[in-house]
Structures are given as C-alpha cells and as structure tokens.
Amino acid sequence: MTAGTCVDMSTSLAGAGIPSPVLTASGCSAFGRELDPFFDLGSIGAVVTKSVQLRPRSGRPTPRMAETPSGMLNSIGLQGPGIDGLLAEELPWLAERGVRAFVSIAGTRVEDFAELAARLRGVPGVLGLEVNISCPNVESRGEVFACDPVAAAEVVAAVRAVADPAQPVYAKLSPDVTDIVSVAAACAEAGANGLSMINTLLGLVIDPDTMRPVLGGVTGGLSGPAIRPVALRCVWQVHKGLPHVPILGMGGIRTGLDALQFVLAGASAVSVGTAVFNDPSAPARIHAELAEALADRGFARLADAVGHAHRPPDGPR
C-alpha cells in the first residue's frame, strides 16, 4: 500500500461523479478498447472517445504524423465511424464493461453538433459530452469555432439546449487565440458546464530532403510535453478569470507531477493524450503517481488541491 492510496481521488465533471481525475484524451485512445489489455479502463475517470461526426469519415491521406521535439504533429482529419457506428459498436462495448464514456462530438455546422447531442441522449454509459470546436485538422481555419467567441457560444448553446440534462457539456478550447478567457467566458455564458483545454496547436514540419511539408494535410496539430506550459498557462488564466467553471486540463501530461501542475492551476480533472502513444498504461500510472504526489504534499483530498497555486503562499490547505 502506497501513501497515495489514502488520498480521496474522487472528483466530478460538472456534477457527474468519477472515482479518478484521470481520463484519456480525445483522439489519443480511439474508443478505448485497444487499451483494454494494458489497464482497467473502469478504474480511470472516463474514456474520452475520438471525436465523432454524423457521417463516417475517412480522414486525411498519409503521412499523418511527424515526430517533433517532445511531441508530435498529427493530421488525422477525424477519421471515424460516424455516430451510427459509435452507437452500434463502440459505446455498447464500453457500457458492457462499466467503462464511463465522455463522448467527443464534432461537426462543420452548428446543427451537426446539436443532432449529435440529441442522438446521445440517454445512451447507457455516456457520462457527458465534450464539444470539439477546436480541431485544427478541418477543411478551413474558418471552421474552427473556438477561434471566435460568438461562433463557439452558438455551438455550445445549441448542444446544451438539446443534450441530455444529466450529461454535462464541456467545450474544448483552442490555444490558438489571442484571448482564451474571452472564448471560455462566452462558452460558459452559453451554457457550457465545463471547459476542456487545450486542443493541439497548429503546426508545420518541412522535410529537408524533399523540401516539402511532411504531412499529407500540410499543417497538423502539435501535442505532447512540448505544449504543456502553453496548456498550463491557459488553465491558469481561465481558472483565474472564471473560478467556478470546472476545467478538464490537458496538454502534454506524461507523469503524476505533470497532472499535479494542472490540478494546482485549477483543473478538477485531467486528460492524458499523446503520452498514451509512448506508454499505453499511462492513464493508470499517472493516477497512481498523482495520488502519491498529493499525499506527499499533505492533501487528503484531490479536491483540496484544485486551484491551490492561485492561493496566497500562506493560505490554508
């Protein structure tokens, strides 16, 4: 028994209780089942599923990835089975095993998001919705709703209006904006129950031999520990500006101490993304490491550490 086992790690996603603050990250764990051989999926907070759209999508041509310093660039293009495939194949598999699903939805029109939310009403095992308004790998930057507070709010309002009242709605934000707090505030105002941050940063790699962009999609989303300070800054700024809005923090989390930084900055839960490519058991490992790190610092409950870094140095725990 490690010291960490006495820390109360339970938390919630805007009221939906979960036993662990560690989740997978959308797009980094498919629909969960490939990770089943490596750890108990039911022991983590939830599997955040790869963004689903109304219709099946092929995704972009290869090459789809490039390794970068402490990270990677991806240009998948939201390959997936569409909502019918998700409902028929993937969500039942998770529900049968008691694995909580936090379902990421994506679309190119506001109505797409609303229809997806409606289709997910009352589906067993669906803990809540993450609204992906910030994927950089879409047809045009003009479609990245999260780059505009008004467009972001429209999507969130449309989703919240039709989504199952028992399912919290989180808006996933892009760091590629001038003022993330204003986008966050617009989403919260529009009814978002929480915020997921951050999505990948738009990046580019050129092959010095071919002298052309490496990725089939030319640009791609940068993820991994390289973006962690950017992500942490976003969580810090938004928690400071909107202290009562729950945050699901993500961006380069690889260890329990990385996760701790996000908690201290104001995240009440975290997603582990690119680290899973390096270590398929990372979510379970990071849960254990975070519990131990909290115990080492005298926290009896995870909840007591959320936002701790914002408090005056001598403040009470």
Binding site: A30, S58, G59, E67, G80, R212, V214, G216, N278
Partner: protein, 323 residues
C-alpha cells in the same frame, strides 16, 4: 481475392525487457530481449513496439520492429539504425532494460499443410520471414526464399533463411553479394513452384511481388511498412487504403488490421492519397483526384525498405520512425 487476415489470438502485453544479447550484423544490430510473455505469444509476422530513450526521452513515439524470432523466453529483432530512436535501440548493451509492447499485429496466415511457399525479403525485412520459414517447414511445406538488398551489408538473415529454404537466392542491387539485380527477377524464377507467397520489405518491392503472385493466381501476403506512432491502434497514423471483405476500400490501420495483408487488397498506387471511393471520403469536403505531388512522391522516395515501422523513415521495412 485472398481472404482477410484474421487477428492474433493473444492480446499484447507491456513489459520491461532486459537485453540478453546484442550482435552487429552488417549494417544492422540484432537484439535478443528477455520477454517471456511476449515470446510465448508471438507468431511470425507480428511485431513489437519499443519506447526509446528512457522515461524522459524527447522522442515519444514507439518504434515498431518486426519480430525476427523467439526462443528461450526471448524475442529477437533486427534494428536498422537511421534516426535517433533506432540508433538508441541499436546501442543498447546486454543488461540494459527497454519498455516493449507486443506481440502486435496480425500474423502471416498459414496455408493448408504441405503447400509449397516462396518467401521474399527486402533488406532487414527478411528477418520477419525466418520464423515463418520454420513454421512452414514444420507443417510440411517446401520453402523457397529470396533475400535482396541494395548492397551486401544491407542483407539480413541470410544464414537463417539459407538453413531453412531451398532454393534460396540472394540478390543485391550493386552485385556485392549474390546476383546483381532485383528480387523480382529471382521471384519470377521461383514463383511457379509455389502455392503461396509471403513478402516483407520496402513498399515498392511488396507491390511488385504482390503483382507477381496475382499474375500466377496464388495468394500473396505482404507485411507492409507505414509510419506508426503507437503500434497498438489508437493513433490512426498508419493507415493504408485496403480493400475489405465487402469489396469497399477503407483506411485501415497497419498496426492492428495489418501489418500482414493480402497483397491484392492493398491499393499500393493510392498510398499517400485520398481516393474518392474510400469509405468516408465523401465526408472530408476535399475529395479530388489524387494530388499529383503525392503520387510522385509515392513513386520515388517515401517508402523505403524493410521491417521497421517507425517515425524515422529512412531505409526501413515498415516506415516506423519520423525523421
């Protein structure tokens, strides 16, 4: 068409494996790793995925490498050092530990017992065929083999295949070992005695050998090469246009739906493009005829040679490592 290749029977495991031996072989390094759970479940055609550079490494993506053999609780791989990750792996000394996941991917399907088989390896791709040659021999098959490479130092598993296969032909582009020329010429000589063909090597070679198998009307299985970030099916980077059992083409993951495919199911000419008839292409909002630049590139450089699926590209069988 060849029937779709069935999945492996055992799920993968993650383990810290100790390097039991290290042996330079020409341009490559063969490693033997103590990993009993992986060795016990592995079948020919499958691969393992290594984390490289230790727990704080800046190279996060796994390096996927074909299993060249198992025995005594050990997994053998042949590493071709060409990028930071594979160079780190190739430098591991006996006693060192490395995080490995496996066995991964679908194994080569075995033919009806006694079917004569032709095995074709390009560069270190030949390593992936050694275990298969043994299995086929055990099942009563006559096994012929061809191993080819650019030059003598890039040949692989020549001794092992030579002991298991007859006839066994070696070719090099520069004539520094065996016959001067391409494997396809040697394949053309041997294919008429075969009832099934298996190949592992660069994509261009796989395409040519697959065409040869189709031309004589026998099944041809290829272990493909495509960039992989995870090796376990979650990253979606290693997709290829594959014709499914229903006749429709999908972007299929080389790691979990491959790396072994019926060669006639791989649309080699469309790799690197988004053909309009791929399932879900209509939802992408950008379907056009294959981009000319992408087609050009496919024909010239990106798919280099043999058995490694890593983010480093270069001369690997399965382009695994990014550069």
């Amino acid at each position: 068409m060849t029937p779709p290749v069935p999945p492996a029977s055992s799920p993968p495991v993650q383990a810290m494996a100790q390097v039991a031996f290290r042996r330079p072989v020409g341009a490559y390094v063969e490693l033997g790793l103590s990993a009993p759970a992986i060795a016990g479940a592995a079948a020919p055609g499958q691969f393992v995925a290594f984390a490289v550079g230790g727990p704080t490494s800046a190279n996060l993506l796994r390096r996927s490498i074909a299993i060249s053999g198992v025995g005594g609780g050990r997994v053998h791989v042949v590493v071709s050092p060409h990028g930071p990750g594979s160079t780190w792996l190739a430098g591991l000394q006996p006693g060192a530990e490395v995080d490995v996941v496996g066995p991964l991917g679908r194994p080569f399907p075995l033919p009806p017992p006694g079917t004569p088989a032709l095995l074709v390896g390009g560069g270190y791709g030949a390593a992936a065929l050694v275990g298969l040659a043994g299995r086929l021999r055990d099942a009563g098959s006559e096994v012929a083999a061809v191993s080819g490479a650019a030059s003598a130092d890039r040949l692989c598993s020549v001794e092992e295949l030579g002991a298991l296969a007859a006839p066994f032909l070696v070719t090099t582009d520069d004539g520094s070992a065996g016959r001067r020329g391409w494997v396809t010429t040697a394949v053309a000589e041997l294919i008429h005695g075969a009832g099934v063909v298996y190949a592992c090597g660069p994509m261009g070679m796989l395409r040519a050998v697959s065409d040869q198998a189709v031309a004589v009307g026998i099944p041809g299985y290829v272990a493909v090469e495509e960039s992989m970030a995870c090796g376990i099916g979650v990253c979606m980077t290693c997709v290829l246009p594959i014709v499914g059992a229903d006749g429709r083409t999908r972007f299929a993951r080389s790691c979990v739906e491959g790396p072994v495919f019926g060669g006639d199911r791989v649309r080699f000419g469309d790799v690197g493009t988004l053909p309009g008839d791929v399932v879900g292409a209509d939802a992408m909002g950008l379907v056009t005829a294959s981009a000319p630049t992408a087609t050009e590139t496919t024909g010239s450089t990106p798919f280099s040679s043999q058995g490694q699926r890593s983010p480093e590209g270069g001369t690997s069988v399965i382009r695994v490592e990014p550069s």
